[in-house]
Symmetry: D3
Subunit: 69 residues, 6 copies
């Protein structure tokens, strides 16, 4: 039944999403019990211009230095 | 005042969204009372590669068998 | 696969939630097809002091006139 | 630590997002204390065909009269 | 139409929520235009045991040093 | 920067949340790179009467058979 919504910067590959979905699901089963089939993981790609930390868009920060995640 | 966020696989037509928004709103009014104008419905299309159940992306499941919703 | 998050003011009864979950699910199946079992509905009760419209908390509006939903 | 998710109709410029992120962050710091760096703001552009009020998609309302926000 | 969901640690007073709702709404109107009445702000109090940064619950960090927001 | 929202049935212990936050964060770092400090995990406990699958509240299903997650 656990449902995970994961927001991160756009640019992840399908291979990364595939691996992450599997590992997050395994972590849920390991810690919470239950079956893997009851775990949903939903990703949302966020553009750097749609995420701000400290009041500054990451697309603007990135002009100065690359953001690592 | 009820606000509904609806996540489903991308590929729904505008006709489906139009009908679903109307029916969900009518259900809220019927059950909760209040006016239809106080109900907001927000849809989010999710790609099959962005949704995993049981640790497997639906885009990978779909390679084996088509997903029905 | 559709997942609905429903936010509304606290105070709904379990009977209302039961009826609303059933009707929202039926609407999804009717419009989108698929099986009822693939539909999840998650409610969140929100206190009037945690919801503002027009910059005013509903707990403050309620002091002047009762909010109907 | 405050995290704000902001949903609005698509069509805002990066300049508007930049200004809004800054002002929302400043409001949090002013009212809650803490540092600006602990505030995250995440925007989500919503198409008018993905948002309904009163059971009617805004893309349909817009055919009759332009929606102002 | 902008809808803001604000998550922060539990413990804010109603006075802080009242002020924050007003200031966030004013910021939206100032930057985006439109009327204040079209802005919804929804708060969610999160317990320190329900929020982790760096893999550590804030309720555990707090044992070492107080968290400022 | 990844932010995970995890919804599950209420009743998890702090020990489970602590372990799950750590494991989910480690999975993000392993698959996506970046530092653990950039990962936020936010839990939300959902009552069985606030979650329906197939149009039936889990609090009603539970009367017939216990739900395992």
């Amino acid at each position: 039944m656990p449902t995970l919504h994961v927001e991160f910067f756009e640019g992840r590959t399908v291979e990364q999403k595939r691996a992450l979905a599997r590992e997050l699901t395994e972590a849920c089963v390991r810690v919470l019990g239950g079956s893997a089939d009851s775990v949903d993981v939903i990703f949302r790609d966020v553009k750097r211009e749609d995420w701000a930390t400290g009041g500054v868009l990451w697309s603007d920060k990135a002009a100065a230095k690359p953001a690592s995640s």
